[in-house]
């Protein structure tokens, strides 16, 4: 979200030079009420957010230690012997990679086509609408759809054909493909917003120098919307990390990552595993509830991961903007 890039200066002067500001004490009651409500809303959301993280930490504190991140889960009937969650962690990372690698190019290309070309316009509307429809689809529907598709014989190489003859249909590729559908809309929207906000004079200058439209896109526009793409990727990745239904249905929920076949790399993609969200789901009261504190510890780790990811991408986006020297969306002319 370019909103979360550094606040644009655009003619806004430092507070000391703003002149006499009216103090809230001189406002009408209605305005003061709105001021109070705005402050409450903003700070209230912060408190809720902090509360969620702290509560998960408090609940999982018994088992919360860094060792959990590096030990593999084990089957055991007692929580103290059931190991850590290395495999679910790797599963989450793997799913995210697959999802973004599939969604990224597709989303950016669609956004470019819509924003820069988009002819005929009814076709552009169809593409935009279909991506918005995907955004509004519940993840469980995508999971059911994915399950039906990947259990067809055609897609047997993407999971595995069991010794009984049927196609298993659940694998990292299957889940990753559906995850890419989840990540597509935010990335598409962010890129399209960024492209639409690039000032016209940049394009016109490139044309004046003799560049074709596609070259302009590649050399001028794409670099200038890099922070938007980064924001979109963060949003997409957050949605992938947080998704439960697709993982439950399409990943097989095996405790360890179980590879399939003998081609290194591809065998993991074709294999089954679990992710942090399915680990939390299965072990917390949402599922069997057999290892609740471990599940809360995993949930806490998940929240920290998401927070770290957000901060990281924010940092990258900001440093890119500075290095580009470009002032992005907002019409700072």
């Amino acid at each position: 979200m370019s909103t979360f890039a550094p606040h644009q200066q655009k003619g806004r002067q430092p507070t000391s030079q703003r002149g006499r500001q009216s103090s809230p004490w001189s406002w009408r009651w209605g305005d003061r009420l709105v001021l109070f409500c705005a402050w409450t809303a903003g700070l209230g959301l912060c408190l809720v957010s902090a509360g969620i993280v702290i509560y998960m930490g408090y609940r999982g504190i018994e088992y919360l230690r860094p060792g959990l991140l590096f030990s593999r889960p084990a089957i055991s009937t007692s929580q103290s012997q059931s190991g850590g969650f290395l495999d679910p962690l790797i599963g989450t990372v793997l799913l995210t990679l697959i999802g973004i690698l599939l969604a990224g190019p597709l989303a950016v290309i669609s956004a470019i086509w819509i924003a820069e070309y988009g002819r005929p316009s009814w076709l552009a509307r169809v593409v935009e609408s279909s991506i918005e429809i995907v955004a509004g689809t519940p993840d469980i529907v995508l999971a059911l759809f994915g399950l039906s598709i990947f259990q067809l014989g055609l897609f047997a190489p993407l999971s595995f054909r069991s010794e009984a003859g049927g196609v298993f249909g659940r694998s990292f590729i299957a889940a990753g493909a559906m995850m890419s559908l989840i990540a597509l809309p935010p990335l598409f929207a962010a890129t399209r917003e960024g492209l639409q906000a690039v000032p016209a004079h940049l394009r016109e200058a490139a044309f004046a120098l003799g560049k074709t439209r596609i070259t302009t896109i590649r050399r001028v526009l794409l670099p200038s919307v890099r922070s938007n793409i980064a924001t979109g990727v963060t949003l997409g990745v957050s949605r992938i990390i947080g998704d439960t239904a697709i993982v439950l249905l399409l990943l097989g929920e095996t405790l360890h990552i179980e590879a399939q076949g003998s081609v290194p790399g591809l065998n993991v993609l074709r294999g089954t595993g679990s992710s942090l969200t399915s680990y939390v789901y299965d072990n917390s009261p949402a599922g069997e509830g057999a290892a609740p504190q471990k599940a809360y510890a995993a949930a806490f780790v998940l929240l920290l991961m998401v927070l770290a990811l957000n901060l990281l991408v924010d940092r990258i986006g900001r440093s890119h903007q500075r290095s580009m020297g470009l002032s992005v969306p907002g019409g700072a002319i």
Partner: protein, 274 residues
């Protein structure tokens, strides 16, 4: 990003994938299993032991998804064995040709909140509560709670619900007033938090100490009474196969039902068949 950086990123990803993958042995047959989350720990422990005892004979791939999904998978030949927490439907609803082999027993206990330590319920009392005839705790002898009875049940796809209705309710259905939870954990959580709650769980979940388990027809519900067959509300975990199992699948199932090592594993937390 210049080309060298692109290549190195691609190489890093590829090597990470390679490292994450355990080295796959070739040509060992795989037994694929899918099904109930309730029996997943049991079947995983059994498979682990089997591989330890007979190394390099078979590999296992055990997925979860739910008893119903396991049965469907077996019926469509997507897996060799399905784990089920309920027996075959009567009359046997097709897909025909499914063979249910019991491997372990578990007791179904009626549970109430810890603040309501009801010691016993007869079958008639239980039926009247769960079919919605008795709606207030004041009418239940021995209950210390007061107010409305909050029935907490499972969704109709759950195997435990079918077993509960057949074994403890005499075949009657749970009232439509009951709220349906979709997993054992959620049911246990609901009963834990609601002083007026009453539900049903497997004996393991009931013995975790957060809810009170109620006696049935004068018999307490725990592993001992279930093993000695005093407690009548005992359901089974089944391994479902399409027709008679053959080959290594058959040897695995035979090992589970007959060997002493398997019996020891089952007895640790569940109830062996004999």
């Amino acid at each position: 990003m210049n080309r060298i950086r692109r290549l190195s990123v691609a190489l890093t990803i590829a090597s990470a994938l390679g490292v994450a993958a355990p080295v796959a042995a070739s040509a060992i047959p795989t037994i694929s299993i899918s099904g109930a989350t309730a029996s997943y720990p049991l079947v995983s422990l059994l498979a682990q032991k089997y591989v330890k005892l007979k190394p390099h004979k078979v590999k296992f791939k055990i997925a979860q998804g739910g008893a119903q999904i396991g049965i469907n998978d077996v019926a469509s030949s997507r897996v060799s064995i399905g784990d089920s927490s309920r027996g075959p439907l009567e009359p046997p609803a097709p897909p025909a040709g499914l063979l249910f082999t019991p491997i372990a027993k578990y007791a179904i206990c009626v549970v109430t909140n810890k603040s309501n330590p009801l010691s016993n319920l007869s079958q008639a009392e239980l039926e009247s509560i769960f079919t919605g005839k008795t709606r207030s705790w004041g009418q239940v002898p021995g209950a210390t709670a007061s107010g409305t009875v909050d029935l907490i049940s499972r969704t109709s796809v759950a195997g435990v619900l079918t077993s509960f209705q057949t074994l403890l309710l005499g075949g009657k259905s749970v009232s439509k007033l009951a709220s349906e939870e979709s997993s054992e954990g959620l049911l246990r959580q609901a009963v834990e938090n609601d002083p007026n709650g009453i539900g049903f769980l497997s004996n393991y979940a009931a013995s975790l100490g957060t809810v009170h388990s109620v006696g049935y027809n004068g018999v307490a519900c725990n592993k001992a009474t279930a093993t000695s067959e005093q407690y009548t509300g005992v359901a089974r975990f089944y391994e479902v196969t399409l027709h008679q199992p053959k080959g290594f699948v058959a040897s695995f199932i035979n090992w589970i039902t007959k060997s002493a090592a398997a019996r020891k594993i089952i007895a640790s937390q569940w109830i062996p068949l004999s």
